[in-house]
Subunit: 377 residues, 2 copies
């Protein structure tokens, strides 16, 4: 049975207790997960008896290539996608249809209720997302490819970085290296933040040069269909003379000390990673290590202002979230990031992010770039 | 009054008849339009008395830079954005809050109703989108910049294209040229489709080389905050010997004849473009010209399988849609694409897309690249 068929079978099995006789899938990533369709406009009507992909003429040829065993309903450009969904549903013989409550908009549901008035709609949450938590072998291979592409790109990045490059130059270069290494594109806009700007976890690249700072934080990933997500924080390879210290060097913190604390937090989390572990315990392990290894006079955990990690797959951020206030338990076959980070205003930030496959006994580190910034390049 | 303040005042004015005493804005583009905030996670609570931007610590510094006259509510990472929205709403004193029904999900609304049980929520549609239809001078300037960046990139693209470049190489190169010309990034993944593959309006770039085909369709745009969107279809500058015709040359259609019909359709539409015109009449003018100028034996309008155009601005596709089945009337200050296209299976496609500013008396063509493919480069 091919992966797509088995995903659809599993989804229908998971919805057996929900009292629906069919499903309408509208979130593009979930449409792709269930059918292989990579276009931007589509919806799936699914039941034990039918699988109909609703799209338009732009994608007619593509659907034939990508989606085996799926019936295509190609709407004319004079009809909208919601019109076509209502039409297919009305003809389907279905009576109570589950919809994706986390993605379908309030007006989208109201429109369906009006246009397909004989049907009832049941809002369901997280059904496909839950299936996507556990990766099958084909998905794992694609994530590994996305990681390998990102790592090749990073080696180019480090090898070619020069003192006069701006953050924007470097972010653009990373985009190009990712494509050159075989990626379709970045999985998200690469973050390149120098000096004290690295204290902004989602910094937008500016015209500041790498030579003006003593450190560079880089957060990047490749999209090969599936996605990778990595972060490294480097000491600038362009040392400034001692009497001309950069702004971020004239503050109280020592790079190596902060870096070591974040590294310890990362490793402490990884020790706890395994199927059956609660995500809040993994987050807590990282925070405890961060406090323990903090330099004198500061608790770095006070400056770790985001969750510890998240699932990766067709989306850069997907289930499971690894954070304090969650009762989620890890499952065999999940792939997650671990990314403790510390952000000290005026000084900058350090984040170390890798991607891990969850197994019964622990976790397999899928990324291969060394943590020690001096060992890269 | 600054643009953001005046947008918020206009929005509240437009919602006076809706019986709400405040608004919750959750769509990121609309949050940006109303506050200037460019981060990925935020929501705005707005009334005649307050403007509160809810975000998280990742964006605390950025909000100070970007959003003047807005109160920030920074949620801790232990609380979710919906939790924080409910909290701010509960404290706001508001009673009946308008929500964005086209963007808020079914479960998002249910969650708000549960968490802020004392309030009622009214689903409103298209309120901010309607304001965004008419561009103010600052927006028009940014769109012009996005067009200028895209055009510089295209000149590099044409100048540097070589026979052995694949569609993927060229799409990646376009991304780089757009950034090199000053864009933050592409406004969408550039389409580079050669030969008969240009019959797929949303073709994904492949490893096919430009030297293997007699034509190349390029659909691209720059994102400088605001976005541009252009298409040109070029005869291959690498002519093949007459006895070694490429696959797309061995079919019945003549490139120049199809190109001229699409160009006539484009010009016929532009003649009708003006404030007060109905979009369906503009679409009809293009279709009529396409039929009239079709080569013998084919009605090219049968192969024009999408709408004629759409608004551009903060999003690549926004209101107004220019299509057959719409009662929309154009307004002064809109910026729209005109993009008739013809797709002939086995032969390929021709599309010519430019960006226009709507005025009282007509339209100003904002793009400056010539239509005649021979005149480019």
């Amino acid at each position: 049975m091919d992966y797509y068929v088995s995903r659809r079978v599993n989804l229908l099995r998971d919805c057996k207790g929900d009292g629906v006789d069919g499903l309408l899938i509208t979130h593009p990533t979930n449409v792709r997960y269930l059918t292989g369709f990579t276009g931007s406009s589509g919806a799936v009507v699914l039941s034990s008896k039918l699988t109909i992909l609703i799209s338009d003429a732009r994608y007619e040829e593509q659907i034939k290539e990508e989606c085996k065993g799926v019936d295509a309903h190609i709407r004319p450009h004079t009809k909208t996608l919601p019109d076509a969904m209502a039409e297919v549903l009305a003809k389907s013989g279905l009576k109570n249809v589950g919809v994706e409550a986390d993605h379908l908009s309030v007006s989208g549901l109201a429109g369906l209720q009006e246009k397909a008035a004989k049907l009832t709609f049941a809002p369901l949450s997280g059904k496909v997302e839950h299936l996507r938590v556990v990766k099958d072998p084909s998905e794992l291979e694609q994530i590994k490819t996305a990681i390998s592409v990102a790592e090749r790109a990073f080696r180019m990045f480090v090898a070619l970085m020069k003192e006069t490059d701006t953050e924007k130059d470097l972010a653009d270069a990373m985009e190009m290296y990712i494509r050159r290494a075989g990626g379709m594109r970045s999985s998200f806009a690469p973050i390149v933040a120098t000096g004290e700007r690295s204290a902004l976890p989602h910094a937008v690249p500016t015209s500041r040069t790498v030579g003006e700072s003593s450190k560079v934080l880089v957060d990047w990933g490749a999209d090969v269909g599936y996605k990778s997500d990595l972060t490294r924080t480097l000491k600038s390879p362009f040392p400034t003379p001692p009497l001309r210290k950069t702004k971020d060097e004239r503050t109280a913190y020592n790079f190596d000390a902060v870096y070591e604390a974040v590294r310890q937090a990362h490793e402490a989390a990884v020790k706890e990673l395994r199927a059956g572990a609660q995500v809040k315990d993994i987050d807590a392990a990282a925070r405890k290590a961060l406090t323990k290894h903090s330099p004198r006079g500061v608790d770095l955990n006070d400056h770790f202002t985001h969750g510890l990690g998240h699932g990766i797959g067709l989306e850069t951020h997907e289930a499971p979230q690894i954070r304090q206030n969650s009762e989620t338990v890890l499952e065999v076959g999940s792939v997650v990031t671990i990314e403790p980070g510390v952000y000290l205003p005026g000084w900058g930030g350090v984040r170390i992010e890798d991607d891990y496959q969850i197994t019964k006994d622990g976790a397999i580190r899928l990324t291969t770039l060394p943590h020690d910034p001096g060992a890269i390049g």
